[in-house]
């Protein structure tokens, strides 16, 4: 049994790589969405300024 367990491949690097790929995909996606949210906020500010400008006119 001990001999058998010693012959098991030590592939923890591959496991870490697989989980890091998953993490990178999720984080990458969230980062892209955050950039889009920032753009959206910029557009909202622009429209708010536009509305305020018209209100003053």
């Amino acid at each position: 049994m001990i001999i058998a367990s010693n012959t098991l491949p030590g592939d923890s690097g591959y496991v870490a790589a697989a989980y890091l790929v998953f993490l990178a995909i999720v984080l990458g996606y969230v980062a892209i969405m955050a950039i889009r949210a920032a753009r959206l906020e910029r557009d909202v500010v622009e429209i708010a300024e536009l509305v305020e400008g018209r209100a003053h006119e």
Binding site: L8, G10, D11, Y14, F22, I47
Partner: protein, 236 residues
């Protein structure tokens, strides 16, 4: 209001994913045959299942779009397919890593499961070029829906064909999980649920973003402004 309930859903997703991976590493027993590399199973297979489920969901939303003519369903279908493509990339990469660790090869061409998944992925790679090659929004939505329904119907057919085919190296997961030890099966099912929750959270996240953007665009139109908002390739 796609943003409604997004905060609790995000928290539940974080807890579920952390719990699922903790169970995979600290509760599920080490596989006697593959050792630690079998732990990739708990991220690779749930990602594949959820990606394929998302493609089918995209097809179902497209059916709703063609039946009702509501462009909202087209947007839902687009986001579902877009997210599934991202998960499919993850499935292919983690699958290759697992194959390298277990079989000594990054890819095995005579294995029906791997090749069929690649075919499904490549099929959906045609979705966006097809969609954005059409300028008229109505026609774009209609053609994209027809594609999504056809490709979505192909997914379960492909799944069945693969299960009927003789497997050489890739293990069969669904239908054979009865053979998994109870602790492994529990960790696996929780990982599938956590991955599905992640998918739903990101789908709602993107839908809320696109919905807000479209609302903003219509407000700007209402104000009589001709200044375009920041460019986006997504449907409206």
């Amino acid at each position: 209001m796609y943003g409604k309930g997004l905060r609790p859903l995000s928290l539940i997703t974080c807890v579920a994913l952390t719990g699922a991976f903790a169970l995979a590493f600290f509760y599920a027993p080490m596989d006697a045959d593959q050792g630690i590399s079998q732990k990739i199973f708990y991220v690779h297979v749930p990602m594949a299942i959820v990606a394929l489920g998302g493609f089918v969901a995209g097809g179902l939303y497209s059916i709703a779009h063609l039946r009702t003519g509501d462009r909202g369903y087209d947007l839902k279908s687009y986001v579902a397919i877009h997210l599934s493509q991202i998960l499919a990339v993850g499935t292919l990469i983690t699958g290759s890593i697992w194959a390298r660790a277990s079989w000594g090869h990054w890819w095995v061409w005579d294995e029906p499961t791997l090749v069929s998944f690649l075919i499904v992925f490549l099929l959906y790679c045609c979705y966006q070029p097809l969609r954005f090659s059409i300028e008229d929004p109505e026609r774009q939505a209609r053609y994209a829906s027809v594609f999504a329904i056809t490709a979505g119907a192909f997914v379960p057919l492909n799944f069945l064909a693969v299960r009927l085919a003789q497997s050489y190296t890739h293990p069969r997961v669904l239908g054979t999980t009865d053979g998994l030890p109870a602790k492994m099966a529990l960790a696996f099912y929780i990982a599938v649920v956590a991955m599905a929750l992640l998918y739903v959270t990101l789908w709602k996240y993107e839908m809320a973003s696109k919905h807000a953007r479209n609302r903003l665009r219509s407000i700007r139109r209402g104000l009589g402004e001709d200044i375009g908002l920041t460019r986006s390739a997504s449907p409206q």
